[in-house]
């Protein structure tokens, strides 16, 4: 099956009187890892939720392979039919289930038999190097291990796109680096495209070749990451550049 590509057209999202996203349009191309960078409260997570089909937009549309999958107030293709995996900011691990069951329940949408889903879940645990934790519960393992369980659950569905919603914030530099490296290798081996949402450009630069910057719900700039850093228009990339040049 050919991996899909996504097109966001003039997306707007508002909650009551509060507008979170205004007129955001962009393409997510298969095979091109993209970072969505911006300050907190800029609308990054909302954009990801709209892309995943967890929310319907107030205006605009989301297209998958040229076909509309979200329209204002309507979700036409449900999240699990979009061939996506997602790692949430708070990881969203179900605390009453074991690590293996967390990953296996994540495969429910695939309509697999029990043996198949167990096999596929174990494969994902091996890929993330946590097969030894299969029978432990999320509360019994470390923060870094929990991140890998969330990653395993997301990659177990063999997604075409992996959406990462600031999953590495709060981790120490070493753990963060190891996890990013694992995502990079997994994306090469499993051939999925990453969309990383982060407020830290440094986190994104090692993984994504393309970037977009959201500030106050508006798309300020997008393009190849290096080019954006060479002549930044957004506040966040300008600050990032200034700090990087100050580094001894």
């Amino acid at each position: 099956m050919t991996p899909p590509s996504f097109e966001l057209k003039a997306l707007c999202q508002a909650y009551g009187n509060e507008t979170v996203l205004t007129d955001v349009s962009l393409d997510l191309v298969k095979g091109r890892h993209t970072a969505c960078v911006g300050p907190s409260g800029g609308g990054k997570s909302t954009l990801l939720r709209l892309l995943a089909g967890l929310e319907a937009p107030s205006a605009g549309s989301v297209l998958m392979d040229g076909k509309s999958c979200s329209e204002p107030g309507r979700i036409l293709v449900p999240p699990h039919r979009r061939r996506l995996g997602m790692v949430f900011q708070d990881l969203a691990l179900w605390p009453n289930l074991s690590v293996l069951d967390n990953v296996r329940l994540g495969l429910t949408g695939g309509k697999l038999s029990r043996e198949e889903s167990t096999g596929q879940a174990r494969e994902a645990l091996v890929l993330c190097d946590i097969e030894r934790l299969a029978n432990r519960r999320p509360g019994e393992i470390s923060g870094g291990e929990q991140q890998r369980v969330a990653l395993a659950r997301a990659v177990a569905v063999r997604p075409a796109f992996l959406l990462l919603d600031e999953p590495f914030s709060g981790l120490d530099l070493g753990t963060k680096d190891r996890l990013l490296d694992r995502v990079r290798r997994l994306s090469d081996d499993e051939r999925f495209t990453v969309m990383l949402v982060t407020h830290d450009p440094l986190e994104a630069i090692g993984l994504c070749e393309h970037a977009m910057v959201l500030e106050e719900g508006r798309l300020v700039e997008s393009g190849p990451f290096r080019e954006l850093l060479d002549s930044p228009r957004s506040e966040i990339l300008r600050l990032f550049n200034r700090n990087m040049t100050r580094t001894p």
Partner: protein, 515 residues
């Protein structure tokens, strides 16, 4: 496939569902209101009722004031500090909230009799009635303040500690919990308006006592209905402004999600004060009346008669408690899921739930009586059976389960549903595998609390129980004036032991939730 995101989706359907839920809960009261509205012979409530209502109001205000002044610091100290015997002292002080008030009234009365005629005379009327209720008020305010203090984050407490030491921590925590504690005290005060027990035992004419006389001695259900409506109006008049003002604050303080729970501090000086205060309260409001209640056992226990009463009423007591608990928990949790995460709807649910909870138990029970008296025989299983008792009790007590359910649901991150939706987990599977197991502990706690409150509600059982199907507390209530005091003491002991066992269960359940 229904998406688990439905559980998180906002919309007007939530308001409609919640409104319908509360409307269903109010249906049993309609016949009573209707009869009063169409009554042609005026709206007389009897000559003695109005002065009795005045007495009740004085008792309610005194109890609320004492409960607030004493319960708030006790709860704050219990919520902030680790000290020897903390769990036992808190559990002991929780007992008055879970045991019917008339048992404490009997205890005080018996203790005063042992001390001497002077003490007995001093407790007659208002002082004895207020004292019997004070234990409950202090208990509820203490537990509320404890919960409010525990909802402070560790960093908030640390900030206060850095600013001015332990004194500032305690003062700021008291200020933080003062409104909520005040509301809890006020609510207990309002609850006393509907409770006839202590007034009857200590010889004070109260509104609830007059109502009890109307239906159990005069068999004038119409008069009881009118009195009940006046009492309801008084309750609403007193409670609604306080609820409307405090519900949003309660909603954020008690339903909020914690970021990092505070660790109990160890401070020798404050711990001594805490131990002293809690021990004094436990002695005054639990041990002293309990001693009075159980002292007659020294003359010998009526084991056979108690056993007979237990075998006759035990099953019914369990059935009423369990049936009411199950119905209340089911309804309360469905309502909690309907309320979702909306702050406005949460506050509205809390306000409506509190208003319903505070109604005189007789309001719903008399409604069932009126419907049942006109209903055909085929409606007996629903309107004139033990199921009726369970339903009537659950109708008034389901807000307890609603409150615990809302608190639990808001502590689950919304990303759980989102993750399930991304992975195509159907709503049914998500409910069965994640939501129901996660609701297990709060539902269990709610079941036990509602069960105990249902057992303590003698009025509803008195009005609705089928002939020969009384509960243990009702049996104690009906025999306490005429039976030998050794028998009353033996029955009371059986009840208190059962309540303590349930308390231990609650402690275990809550302990597991915290764990």
């Amino acid at each position: 496939m229904i998406s688990p995101m439905l559980l998180e989706r906002p919309g007007s359907w939530r308001w409609i569902g919640v409104t319908l839920g509360f409307a269903v809960a109010l249906v049993p009261t309609l016949p009573l209101v209707w009869r009063a509205a169409v009554a042609t012979d005026g709206f007389s409530v009897g000559d003695a009722f109005v002065p009795a209502l005045g007495n009740s109001l004085v008792v309610a205000l005194s109890v609320a004031a004492i409960g607030w002044i004493v319960g708030l610091p006790a709860g704050v100290l219990g919520g902030l500090y680790a000290f020897r015997g903390r769990a036992i002292l808190i559990a002991l002080l929780a007992l008055p909230a879970l045991v019917p008030s008339f048992l404490w009234a009997i205890g005080w009365s018996a203790a005063a009799l042992r001390i001497g005629t002077g003490a007995s005379q001093a407790l007659t009327g208002f002082p004895g009635t207020a004292l019997a209720f004070c234990g409950m008020a202090i208990s509820v305010v203490m537990l509320t303040s404890l919960a409010t203090t525990r909802s402070l984050t560790a960093s908030q407490i640390d900030a206060a500690r850095i600013a001015g030491g332990e004194r500032t921590v305690v003062v700021q925590s008291c200020r933080h919990g003062a409104t909520t504690a005040g509301l809890a005290a006020g609510l207990v005060g309002v609850l006393t308006l509907s409770d006839p027990g202590p007034g009857q035992i200590h010889g004070l004419r109260t509104a609830a006592g007059e109502m009890l006389t109307s239906f159990s001695a005069l068999y004038d259900f119409a008069l009881a209905g009118r009195q009940c409506l006046v009492l309801t109006a008084a309750v609403l008049l007193l409670a609604l402004p306080a609820i409307a003002m405090a519900a949003p604050r309660l909603s954020t303080q008690l339903l909020a999600r914690q970021s990092r729970a505070p660790v109990l501090a160890r401070n020798r000086r404050v711990s001594r004060i805490a131990i002293g205060l809690l021990t004094l309260l436990a002695f005054l409001f639990v041990m002293l009346p309990l001693t009075g209640l159980l002292l007659p056992l020294l003359a010998g226990a009526e084991i056979l008669a108690t056993w007979n009463a237990l075998t006759r009423t035990g099953w019914n007591t369990l059935l009423y408690a369990g049936g009411a608990g199950l119905a209340a928990v089911t309804f309360g949790i469905v309502m909690a899921l309907l309320a979702g995460r909306s702050a406005t709807l949460g506050a509205a649910c809390l306000a409506a739930g509190l208003a319903l909870f505070l109604q005189p138990p007789a309001l719903i029970a008399l409604g069932f009586v009126f419907v049942g008296s006109d209903a055909p025989a085929w409606a007996d299983p629903l309107l004139r059976s033990r199921l009726t008792v369970c339903l009537a009790l659950a109708t008034r007590l389901f807000p307890v389960a609603l409150f615990l359910g809302m608190r639990a649901w808001r502590s689950f991150p919304s990303s759980w549903s989102a993750a399930a939706a991304v992975h195509g987990v159907p709503a049914r599977t998500f409910l069965r595998r994640i939501v129901v197991p996660m609701f297990g502990f709060p539902a269990g706690t709610a079941l036990l609390i509602v069960g105990l409150l249902a057992t303590a509600d003698v009025g509803t059982v008195l009005l609705l129980h089928p002939p020969g199907q009384a509960s243990l507390p009702l049996t104690i209530f009906t025999v306490m004036a005429n039976a030998p005091e050794t028998l009353v003491a033996s029955l009371c002991l059986a009840y208190v032991v059962a309540a303590v066992m349930v308390l231990v269960l609650i402690h275990r359940v809550v302990g597991r939730i915290v764990h």
